[in-house]
Symmetry: C2
Subunit: 319 residues, 2 copies
């Protein structure tokens, strides 16, 4: 215990829009933080320089021996075992980049690279909704669908650390082609983006809905608000979204047998409205021994990536 007291890690959440970094203690508490716009079009060298600077900012004045290193999470697919970014659609030039090595050279501390969904799963496991369990599936539903899996008391990694691309599980035979190339991906049907797009399409052919009749855009937030107000179209859109989420979750129950499913990401702001439909799908479609698995809302919210990235560092530095 003694030598571990007070040790700190730096978490970095590298997104296509924003780059965030924070100094985080072993309880998952954010002590110092910074954020900047990601230089998304300027290539890996410039982004690596940004991360170096962000790390310097949040660790300024900290006694170096207290710092165990830097955990960086980014969209995948990436090879977390080798520290190689394989392909990030939203960051120019991030194809087969040995990003972990590039960062270590700049920062002079150990660096670990992790898929953002897996990092968030780890964050929720260590510091969030999943602290009491040995088996969980974390799902983030926002622009896309990502996630990570804890099984048998360990993070599920697989070859190159690429396990858990749960958004790219096809649930619709010959369905719409996902950006990844696979037809019918869960992400292509149940992400926040697709939910909003479906709403805009349905509004066109529905004369009775209040949605889209004023100046405000038809986005996810508007649909949930209209559903709360009793708008029939909005209610049916929310029910359909919940059913689509539930259908994917039933698959994940059968595939990973978690004790707990945790939902994060932007769409989880409306978890209370989605949960009944998700639970109904599980109650009718999961095999009986899987039906009692709870689905709960993530607790780390916007910070799941940051905290999870730091958790990656704490985990990797364990003796």
């Amino acid at each position: 215990m003694g030598s571990e007291m007070g040790r700190l890690a730096i978490g970095v959440d590298l997104g296509g829009t924003q780059l965030r970094a924070a100094l985080i203690d072993q309880n998952g508490t954010l002590l110092v933080r910074t954020a900047m716009a990601t230089a998304a079009t300027q290539g890996p060298e410039v982004v690596a320089d940004q991360i170096r600077d962000a790390v310097a900012t949040v660790s300024a004045g900290i006694d170096p021996p207290r710092l165990i290193g830097v955990g960086v999470c980014s969209p995948g697919p990436l090879d977390s075992l080798q520290g190689i970014v394989l392909n990030v659609a939203t960051l120019t030039g991030f194809v087969n980049i040995p990003f972990r090595r590039m960062l270590q050279e700049r920062i002079g501390m150990p660096v670990w690279l992790e898929n953002d969904g897996i990092a968030a799963a780890l964050g929720e496991w260590r510091y969030g909704a999943g602290q009491s369990v040995s088996n969980l599936v974390y799902i983030t539903v926002s622009t896309g669908i990502g996630g990570g899996v804890v099984a048998d008391g360990r993070l599920l990694r697989g070859r190159r650390g690429m396990a858990g691309h749960i958004g790219h599980m096809s649930i619709v035979r010959d369905g719409d082609r996902c950006d990844c190339g696979n037809p019918g991906c869960w992400e292509e049907y149940a992400s926040g983006t697709r939910f909003a797009r479906r709403a805009r399409q349905r509004v066109q052919s529905d004369a009775t809905t209040t949605l889209g009749k004023g100046d405000s855009p038809v986005d996810g937030r508007a649909v949930f608000a209209a559903a709360t107000a009793g708008d029939p179209l909005a209610k049916s859109l929310v029910a359909e979204e919940a059913d689509l989420l539930g259908a994917g979750i039933v698959n994940l129950l059968h595939l990973y047998s978690p004790e707990l499913v945790i939902m994060g990401g932007g769409m989880s702001a409306n978890f209370a409205q989605l949960h009944p439909g998700i639970a109904a799908r599980i109650a009718t479609c999961a095999m009986p021994p899987f039906r009692d698995t709870p689905v709960v809302r993530a607790v780390l919210g916007d910070n799941s990536g940051l905290v999870g990235a730091a958790a990656t560092a704490f985990e990797a530095a364990k003796p």
Copy 2:
């Protein structure tokens, strides 16, 4: 090494039709075997007696200290951690049965209970096609679809040991309802049973095919034979089956990131005819970093359950 030399396990493969048992050494070699019709309608007590007798038969004359115990595999879902059969549709009365305890009381040796798909995965990992890898997915395609997963050098178990019910992953939104209750399960579309049923349906409306024109039944074997002979309907049925198998396998690549996919079960007798279509689906639909994952045929064949069950015992008895 010394104390482990020459140790033996008994594998039992409990199926709805046949009950098989074998004495197996640490190289996975079957030394003695027996088989009988399962008393499938007579309840767990009678079946447990059958297993006791089969174990006695294959272990007759063996010095007891050489025997580490008995591994029993059965259809799921079952709780392999507690040794409880939760529900086996093909065996009357097998609902929430503490079968491991019942067998231990009768046999007087340690008994381990495992899902047959997971046991076969372990068998292929230890003694079959997967000996060199740390991450694999084993798929058995026959009456249904089952399987098991090795991830990060360990068998994936999950809550109650119920992970890896890969046949009950829905791939068709609002599709045909599976026996398990879930609509659109992979098993409901790509099992050997469904392949044969699809063939019988298509034959009705196809005047040109040779299938079903003679006395021989339209079953899976007939379709593969007709496809080899160039029958267009049979060729299209095989291509569709391969594509359905490939679609499920693409999902499994994204979900578990195996180094290797191993296909066993009755349908794997026709692996050479199915493989091109499976590979084509992976090449077009898997995310690029997953496309080089090989799909190979299982090598243990009919004995995957028996050998896998014994492997379960060897694994569990490891210090």
